[in-house]
C-alpha cells in the first residue's frame, strides 16, 4: 500500500519536474508575448466590432457588431476587389519562389569551387528584403529591374508574343526581382534540409542500380516534403507582411481617417488575416497528408 503511494508520489514528482522545467523555460517569452502580442491582437479583434472615435479625452468605443464588416464588403466594395486581385497575384508567385529556391538549393548543394561564396551571395537579399532598405530601393527605382527599361524588354516581348501571353510574361518578369530577393531564407532552409538526408541512403540506392534521376524522385524529394511545407508557410508569411503590400497600405490609411476610424481598419485587417489563415491551413493540410506516417513537421 505504502509503496504504491510512494511510487505514485515519485511519479508525480518526476512529471512535475519535467513540466516545471518546460514552464520555466517558456516563461520569459510567454510574458513578453502576452503583453505585447497576444493582448494587442485580442483587443484589435474587439476593436473590429466597435466604432472608435478619437476625442479629446481618449478613445470612445461604441459597439456596432458586424457593421464594420458589412460596410467594408457591401457598401465600400473597393476593398474586396483589391483583396482578391492581390491574392491572385500572390498565389501565382508562391509556387515560383518555392520551385526557384528548391533548384538553386539543389545546385548549391553540389560540390564545386567557390561554393561558400555563392551561398553567401544567395542569402544576401535577406538583409535588405525587409523594411527601410527595400523602401529606399523601391523609391529610387531599383525594384523595377532597371535594365527592363534600358533595353526595352517590354517592347521586345510584345513583339514576339501576342496579347494575353505577353502581359503575363511581362508580369512575371517584373515580379522576378521579388522572386529572387525573397528566396534567401528558403534556399537556406532547403540546403539545411538536404543535409538531413543521410549519404548512405544515396549510396545504397546507387548500389541497387538507380540513376540520379530516380534517386532524386525516390529519396531527395520525399525527404524534402516537410521542408517544402515549412518553406511554403514561411513564404506566405513573408509575402503577406511585405511593407508595400497594397492591402496594408489601405488599412493604414483608413486607421486615422475620421469617417472610417480605427475600428473599421481593424475589421479590414481581420478579414485579410482570416484569408491568410485559410491559405495556411490548406498548406498545412497538404503537408501533413504528404508526410503522414513518418512524422514530419507539424
Amino acid at each position: 500500500m505504502n509503496s504504491i503511494k510512494e511510487r505514485r508520489r515519485s511519479y508525480l514528482q518526476f512529471r512535475w519536474k519535467e513540466y516545471g522545467v518546460g514552464y520555466l523555460f517558456m516563461l520569459p517569452w510567454l510574458i513578453g508575448f502576452v503583453l505585447f502580442v497576444a493582448f494587442p491582437i485580442g483587443s484589435s479583434l474587439y476593436n473590429s466590432f466597435n466604432k472608435i472615435l478619437i476625442t479629446s479625452d481618449g478613445f470612445q468605443y461604441k459597439w456596432v457588431g458586424l457593421e464594420n464588416y458589412r460596410q467594408m464588403l457591401v457598401v465600400n466594395n473597393a476593398y474586396p476587389i483589391i483583396l482578391i486581385s492581390y491574392f491572385q497575384e500572390m498565389i501565382a508567385i508562391i509556387p515560383l519562389i518555392l520551385v526557384f529556391s528548391f533548384f538553386v538549393a539543389l545546385m548549391l548543394n553540389q560540390k564545386f569551387p567557390g561554393r561558400g561564396l555563392m551561398r553567401a551571395i544567395f542569402f544576401l537579399p535577406v538583409i535588405f528584403a525587409t523594411g527601410q532598405v527595400l523602401m529606399e530601393l523601391f523609391v529610387q527605382g531599383a525594384g523595377e529591374l532597371p535594365f527592363m527599361k534600358e533595353y526595352n524588354i517590354n517592347a521586345f516581348v510584345e513583339q514576339f508574343f501576342y496579347g494575353g501571353l505577353a502581359t503575363t510574361i511581362i508580369n512575371v518578369l517584373s515580379k522576378a526581382v521579388i522572386i529572387l530577393w525573397y528566396s534567401g531564407v528558403q534556399i537556406l532552409i532547403f540546403i539545411a534540409g538536404f543535409q538531413t538526408i543521410p549519404k548512405s541512403l544515396y549510396e545504397a540506392i546507387r548500389v541497387d542500380g538507380a540513376s540520379p534521376w530516380e534517386s532524386f524522385w525516390k529519396i531527395t524529394f520525399p525527404g524534402m516534403v516537410p521542408f517544402i511545407g515549412l518553406n511554403a508557410i514561411f513564404t506566405i508569411v513573408d509575402l503577406f507582411t511585405f511593407p508595400f503590400n497594397p492591402v496594408m497600405e489601405i488599412v493604414g490609411r483608413n486607421m486615422f481617417e475620421p469617417s472610417t476610424g480605427y475600428g473599421y481598419a481593424s475589421a479590414m485587417a481581420w478579414l485579410y488575416f482570416g484569408i491568410i489563415l485559410l491559405l495556411l491551413g490548406i498548406v498545412l493540410g497538404i503537408t501533413y497528408r504528404a508526410t503522414k506516417g513518418n512524422g514530419g513537421i507539424r
Binding site: 519535467e18 522545467v21 518546460g22 523555460f25 517558456m26 520569459p28 517569452w29 513578453g32 508575448f33 503583453l35 505585447f36 502580442v37 497576444a38 493582448f39 494587442p40 491582437i41 483587443s43 484589435s44 538553386v104 553540389q110 564545386f112 569551387p113 567557390g114 561558400g116 553567401a120 551571395i121 544567395f122 542569402f123 544576401l124 535577406v126 538583409i127 535588405f128 525587409t130 523594411g131 527601410q132 532598405v133 529606399e136 530601393l137 529610387q140 527605382g141 531599383a142 532597371p146 527599361k149 534600358e150 537556406l188 540546403i191 539545411a192 543535409q195 538531413t196 543521410p198 506566405i236 508569411v237 488599412v251 486607421m255 480605427y262 481598419a265 481581420w270 485579410y272 488575416f273 495556411l280
Partner: protein
C-alpha cells in the same frame, strides 16, 4: 595544382557555375546600385531611366548629410549610441529567450504546448499596423514610454525567432538529449552543452533577422518615445530626410540609404561564414 583544378572541372560543373554566377550577379544588383547611388552627383540621381553605375563619383551627398546633422540639437553620436545599445541588448535577449522557448517546445512535454504553437503561427502573420494603438495603451499602462525598455521588450516577444528555433531544434535527435540525461545531465547542462552549440546556425539566422528589424525600426521611436535623446538613429535619419527642403533631401537620402545598410552588411558577412561552417560540420543530420 592547375592539373588538379582541371581535373575537378567537368563540363557539367562549368555549366553549373556559369548558371549560378548569372543569378548571383542579379542578386548583387541592388547592393551595387545602393553603393553607386550614394556617390552619384545630383544630376545623375535624377536621371531617367536610372542608371546602375555612377559616372562621376562625388562625396557631395555625405557632405550634405554632415552639414545638416551638425545643425541638430542632439548630437548625432547620441542616436548612434542608442541604436547600438538597443540592438545589442535586444539581440542577446532574443537569442536567449527564443532558444529556451524553442528547446522546451521541441523536446519537453507540458500543458498548452499545442496552444502555444498555434498562437505563434497566428501571430506570425498578423498585420503590425493594427496592433499599434493597443500596444501603445499597453506601453503607457506599464509606464514604459520614454525608457529603453520600450525599444527592447516588444522584440523579445517575436514569434519568428521562436518558430525558427523550434524547427531547428526538432532536427536534433531526441536520442542525443536522452543519452545526455542518462549520463546525469540536468536540463541546464543539456541546454548549454547540447542545444546551444547545435543551434548555432539558427542563432546566426535569428541574429541577422532580429538585428535588421531592430536597427531599422522607426515605429518605436515614433510612438513610444517623446524624449529626443532616447530615439534611435533609424528614426532620426528618416525624420530628418523628410524635413530637409528641396533637392538636398534626395542626395541625403541616397547617402543615408548606404549608411543604414552598411551595419547590416557587416553583421551579415560576420555571421555568414560561421553559419555555413556550422551547417556543414554540425551533428544535425
Amino acid at each position: 595544382m592547375i592539373r588538379k583544378i582541371r581535373k575537378q572541372m567537368t563540363l557539367s560543373r562549368v555549366v553549373l557555375i556559369v548558371f549560378l554566377s548569372c543569378i548571383a550577379v542579379f542578386m548583387l544588383l541592388p547592393i551595387i546600385f545602393l553603393f553607386n547611388n550614394a556617390f552619384k552627383p545630383l544630376n545623375e540621381l535624377f536621371l531617367f531611366p536610372p542608371t546602375i553605375f555612377v559616372q562621376h563619383p562625388t562625396m557631395r551627398n555625405f557632405e550634405q548629410l554632415l552639414l545638416h546633422t551638425a545643425a541638430g540639437v542632439v548630437p548625432f553620436s547620441r542616436y548612434l549610441f542608442n541604436s547600438l545599445l538597443i540592438s545589442g541588448i535586444t539581440l542577446v535577449a532574443v537569442v536567449l529567450v527564443s532558444t529556451m522557448a524553442g528547446y522546451v517546445l521541441s523536446k519537453h512535454r507540458f500543458h498548452f504546448k499545442r496552444l502555444i504553437m498555434a498562437l505563434i503561427m497566428i501571430s506570425l502573420m498578423f498585420v503590425p499596423e493594427t496592433v499599434m494603438i493597443p500596444r501603445y495603451l499597453m506601453m503607457s499602462g506599464l509606464k514604459l514610454t520614454d525608457t529603453y525598455f520600450a525599444h527592447i521588450l516588444p522584440f523579445i516577444a517575436a514569434p519568428v525567432a521562436v518558430f525558427l528555433m523550434k524547427q531547428f531544434i526538432d532536427q536534433i535527435p531526441d536520442a542525443l538529449v536522452e543519452s545526455a540525461k542518462l549520463d546525469g545531465a540536468t536540463d541546464m547542462t543539456v541546454f548549454t552543452r547540447i542545444i546551444i552549440p547545435l543551434t548555432a546556425p539558427a542563432v546566426a539566422t535569428v541574429c541577422i533577422i532580429t538585428f535588421q528589424a531592430v536597427f531599422l525600426d522607426t515605429e518605436t521611436s515614433m510612438n513610444y518615445i517623446t524624449n529626443e535623446t532616447m530615439k534611435t538613429m533609424a528614426y532620426y535619419v528618416t525624420a530628418f530626410t523628410s524635413n530637409v527642403p528641396g533637392v538636398a533631401a534626395v542626395s541625403i537620402s541616397a547617402a543615408v540609404g548606404l549608411l543604414m545598410f552598411v551595419p547590416n552588411l557587416i553583421l551579415f558577412l560576420l555571421f555568414q561564414r560561421k553559419m555555413i561552417q556550422t551547417m556543414l560540420h554540425s551533428g544535425v543530420k
